[in-house]
Amino acid sequence: MHTKESIYQQLQSILAELFEIPPEDVKLQSDLYDDLDIDSIDAVDMAIKLTELTGRKIQPSDFRDIRSVSDVVDAVYALVQVEAVS
């Protein structure tokens, strides 16, 4: 089962693997674009990776209003919850 904590940890390892961001630099309040230097191309890669890990289809468009790490965690959590309920 996916908890927010496990999603957060998975996200940290994804950011390390794909973008060479040290996990200790990734805080919940970190801004993806300003603090972690992620661009729109990276966001697509990240969406693909999260899809693989969670087994839930995540569209880059789900990330449209997302700025911070906690936004990503919340969005992914909401998606897996919806799937689990239905």
Binding site: E17, L18, F19, E20, D39, I41, D42, D45
Partner: protein, 281 residues
């Protein structure tokens, strides 16, 4: 505009007030000429080309060739009218192939004009608003340029390179700022990696700076600016294609490109001492 002393000689190394005034007039007339030229070419060249009963491939070829010739004339006027000093080039022979990925610094509004005038079959990424402006809509269609808001921008650029276009990219995504290290976005690196294509670095400098970001067109520099355009040997993409995730490779390549440009951008400044016969290393 800062007021100049009304009489007496101008300080050493600066143009007199009169010469500056002349350059303001030339700059203004240059813009007017550009606008008129764009309108003229749009109506009497690009629009008719679009109507020609030939394939897109040919339309593009005609359009791009004509545009380079027009820009050659236009830049000639800039030099002739004393707006800029004769441009210094090096390594131009490395810009003569088809299908090059040209990555350049962007100190001034007009350096893209140099590149388009020199590069055969040049393709560019341009602002999407040019597809809505009535003057530019025909040219961007006829030239087959790539819109910057395309969702598959990287793939389109890689496709253009594979199809034999040369692609001009300013990897900073905006104009180069003075007194600050160049900072690259990763789009250029991602395109190079997606296409598996070597990069031709072109270091463009302008001393003193003119038509830069955040300045009004009439804020002309104290001296007549000179452009320096140095084309360097291709940077091989191969070492970056060795097993790393593309997102990581793009970071490494961007870092290396940035370091390369910063090294060469600040070196051999034409406003410092120019050593003839020496190509920058």
């Amino acid at each position: 505009m800062r007021p100049e002393p009304a009489n007496g000689p101008a300080p050493a190394g600066r143009d007199s007030a009169l010469r500056r005034l002349r350059r303001i007039v030339t700059t203004g007339s240059g813009f007017a000429l550009f606008a008129l030229g764009a309108l003229f070419l749009s109506l009497f060249l690009f629009f008719p080309i679009l109507l020609l009963p030939v394939g897109w491939e040919r339309k593009r070829r005609y359009s791009r060739w004509t545009l380079s010739q027009a820009l050659r004339l236009y830049l000639g006027y800039f030099e002739f009218s004393g707006l800029i000093q004769p441009t210094r080039f090096s390594g131009l022979d490395q810009l003569q192939h088809r299908g090059q990925l040209i990555v350049a610094s962007h100190p001034s509004l007009i350096d893209v004009l140099f590149l388009i005038s020199m590069v055969r079959g040049a393709n560019c990424i341009v602002k999407s608003m040019m597809w809505r402006n009535p003057v530019t809509i025909a040219p961007v269609h006829a030239l087959g340029y790539i819109r910057n808001d395309a969702p598959d921008l990287v793939d389109r650029c890689a496709g253009a390179l594979r199809g034999g276009d040369s692609l001009i990219i300013f990897p900073e995504g905006t104009r180069t700022r003075d007194h600050k290290p160049l900072k690259f976005l990763r789009g250029a690196a991602n395109i190079a990696l997606a296409a598996g294509h070597d990069i031709t670095p072109v270091v463009i400098r302008c001393q003193p700076p003119m038509l830069r970001k955040g300045k009004k067109w009439y804020q002309v520099p104290n001296r007549t600016p000179r452009f320096t355009i140095d084309v360097y040997p291709d940077m091989a993409i191969e070492p970056y294609l060795q097993g790393l995730p593309r997102s990581v490779a793009a970071r490494h390549l961007t870092r290396d490109l940035e370091a390369f440009f910063n090294r060469h951008y600040s070196a051999n400044r034409p406003d410092l001492k120019h050593r003839p016969g020496q190509t920058p290393q």
